[in-house]
Symmetry: D2
Subunit: 304 residues, 4 copies
């Protein structure tokens, strides 16, 4: 089957009516999103795109942004980064503060909040204008200069982000945060608020399916080894408490966000983004998981 046929069949098979989860509600801005939204985009190159539904509509990428900031931090620090954050799955969420205490403030991986906040600290420390440079980075990957923060979302995160403030202060007390707490969480809440469409996300993630080079220009952004590391991290740690299930269902490295987006990459082949804001109980897009499972099943692609 052709990709577009596969996508068409997924779009026909699945509907928001079949899933019972809820749209993220922890910040008011996210709770407003229409639960009927559903889009998917497979990117193989600028002249080879497949999609359905709301694939051109922007949504809040939330934790998917952690992959971008990790890539930026690895460009700045290389493998030295792993002195500040580890690369292992974290297990259940309850252990995170205990784990920080016993492992001297080194978060388990860059995709749990503690780790992403250490990454944010690194960017704030190294860059003159980290928010601008993050936007520049994502705009370059997508070739789209209108990608931006949703300032309402960022403000909303800030107004309720006490747990993240607790984390930064806690890690700072343990010595693994260098910079100013307020600047770090300000940067972090902004990165989570970036708005992108499935089309844009899949194009940006082609970097990780294309050995660290922008496909269209062949510009080298990341080392081969860095890409391998990031893909391995997405495989083992990309889905909160559901990394094992995603690894089984989809079999590709990927990253989800609480805004309902999921991106995944099939190295040397394609990258794909899907969006449906209805979350399962683990906080991942319910339709998104199913759609990616169908995609890899129908294309016969799985690493296992």
């Amino acid at each position: 089957m052709e990709y577009q046929q596969i996508l068409n069949s997924i779009y026909e098979e699945m509907s928001y009516r079949d899933v019972r989860g809820r749209v993220a509600s922890y910040i008011p801005e996210l709770a407003k999103v229409d639960r009927r939204k559903f889009g998917m985009h497979v990117y193989c190159g600028d002249h080879e795109n497949y999609s359905f539904g709301d694939s051109e509509e922007k949504f809040s990428i939330q934790s998917i942004s952690k992959v971008f900031t990790l890539a930026m931090a690895m460009r700045l620090m290389g493998e030295d980064l792993w002195d500040r954050v580890s690369v292992e799955p974290s297990g259940d969420p309850f252990n995170s503060l205990m784990q920080l205490e016993y492992e001297h403030g080194i978060p388990r991986n860059p995709f749990i909040n503690a780790g992403a906040l250490v990454i944010a600290d690194i960017l704030v420390d190294h860059l003159d204008d980290p928010k601008k440079e993050l936007l520049d980075f994502v705009r370059k990957l997508t070739g789209n200069s209108n990608i931006d923060f949703d300032l309402k979302v960022a403000a909303s995160e800030k107004a309720t982000g006490y747990r993240n403030l607790a984390l930064v202060n806690y890690i700072k007390g343990l010595g693994n945060i260098k910079g100013d707490v307020d600047k770090i969480v300000d940067f972090y809440f902004h990165q989570c608020s970036i708005e992108m469409s499935c089309h844009e996300l899949s194009k940006a993630f082609m970097l990780f399916a294309n050995r660290g080079r922008i496909l269209e220009t062949d510009e080298k952004i990341l080392k081969r080894k860095t890409v391998k590391r990031i893909n391995a991290l997405m495989q083992t740690c990309g889905f909160y408490d559901e990394a094992g299930e995603f690894s089984f269902q989809v079999g590709l490295p990927g990253k989800s966000g609480v805004g309902g987006g999921i991106v995944a990459v099939h190295p040397e082949n394609y990258s794909v983004a899907v969006w449906s804001p209805i979350l399962n109980e683990k906080g991942n897009s319910e339709l998104g998981m199913k759609a990616l499972e169908r995609l890899t099943t129908l294309t016969g692609v799985s690493v296992f």
Copy 2:
């Protein structure tokens, strides 16, 4: 490069002299193993074998046995198994008892001890002679009827296995162990004591690289989906506290044992076993990890 050439170059490059770890010492029998041992075997079929060093020498497979018992339990229970044990990475070891408490006795995955003990309970519950049937299963996969327990090792494990006894009792108190505690740990300590060579292990694991069928006879042992599930679990949970690192270095599903063995599978291609008893600080074979990393690098194979 041909597989044999690659193996030769690994054998030339690497030596027990270059690694500083220690042989497992928690039971006296394992501590006696000669630290100079080093062997590797790539199995592509009975007429296509590549190997070096001590690849025909038997060693204690320890936790690698958890893959065999998981396969047996899935044959008995199918997907219902996941009501008894979960499929997610467990994070740091300290949280395991806490996690059991909060998740009502459901271990995080079948490869942590708590999970393997629940699997042992299932086998003891369903099978008339579970120890014999386990040996039969492994003998069938390898076509080798002399595979057996090392009774000294089993007795040694029993004499020091208080933590495993604590786990079984704890889980029984939470309602997720049905059978007799002593029978379960007796079975568990025996399964860990199985002795196999790299040759035998790689042949046995071909099952997981060959869609659940024994390669030579084409006999179907496991469903396609079961194999996918087990491979996904090996990818995310197969290496204690180093699953993320192994996923990055090697990029294949695999499982290690504290006896110094590691097996990995490249679905549709080969299975490989390596053995060196010197462990790194996370409890995985130091040379084994390096050898597998070289193998996948030189063959240009990685899922990422």
Copy 3:
């Protein structure tokens, strides 16, 4: 007011009808106890006794037995005992296994189960026939040779005591249990099953109100300092998760059991036992707490 008048007024004021808790149900034998039972006994000497209700009826003393075994262990080991068990409150129950792990198998105090099991190990290790010697000790304190175990209760505890078995094995794995696991839990389940009346309990605890001497014979059983230590431990650790509340309400050192008994001592004055099997949500006798609060209020006695 005279003691007997005070007791009379308590008996008139309070009734099992006014409390909503439940009788302990974790073992079938305890669940059979009549929830209407209510008795109290103040012991000032063999010729000075005050009581009401079911004060002569025997009930399962459960954790109150931990004070007797602690006293016996201190006679055997003196202050060296504190190398094996600590003397501090334990906080919430969830932390107990974590705490053992991080504090190398040293339980927080002798009244949590982990601590009582280490005490049981010490007695089993030092004594030829620990069960007989425990009965001898309690019989001597009460002058009553018919005090005995309830073997049905002991068997019932054994049949469901997986968590205690888990604890002993866990501590043994950490090196702080010397003896045979089965003997230790057998002893422990027997000690919990001892049956005594309020009259007998209050007479036995006079030891702790009388500087370590049996009041009637003036025989010295414990050192002055040992008594002070045990009383201090009862004050800070005697009431599971409600030590702070008991300290405030009653202001005396005491110990409760899940059978519904509570004993308390007013050094140099009296000892008192109360029994009502209805437990509050923290596992302490609801009427028992209230009755003791009234007693100390009406006698104007409180340490604060």
Copy 4:
């Protein structure tokens, strides 16, 4: 023996040379304190004072301030306070964040930092100028209008107080902090910085030995029941991880601070303050503990 004789003998027996602990160093200002300082003051009334050494020299009262703020909060909220903070010992420090998570942001007691921060929130919420009112309260109890904050110490605490900031944010995320995070920690760091002498502290704490009334004026400040509650809390929770040991050694309700001060009260008799900045490994004044143990032994006073 007379009090003054007892104090003289303590002063002769004990010296900073005999103890090996260290002065608190977590903030630079505290680390500067002269380790030779040693003073004690027993207060029975303005005309009945006993003392030795540096009993008139001011030092940083640190956590002793938590008793003053608790008393103020109980005046404002009465027993409703216990909806916001519990009254039980907290066990080992590692569990505090876990405990908050599982108990919905309700700290275990008002003397652990989490609890004191909730108390600070209450005062900041109810009072127009909480810092001034705290000083007024302490000045009234002592009759000394020159008691004040040490602004250097307060600033020093603020500069390193990331863990307290983490706690406030964490509790706010769980809904049990109402006010502005920065105001709360500012108040908290100020309360800890109050400077008082042993003489002043013992006079202030006479409130808790005198049923809630200022001894000299007989003005009623606290209800009888409130005093009983605070004394019970000091008895079970006043000494960090050493409440059980203090209860045994001294047998009186008390509270220590990391500045090396300890206060204790003997209800209806006296209050006492001791100061030596050398801390034992649990963070309590080493000489202070010993001096109080001698005092209660020599006066024959102990609750047990």
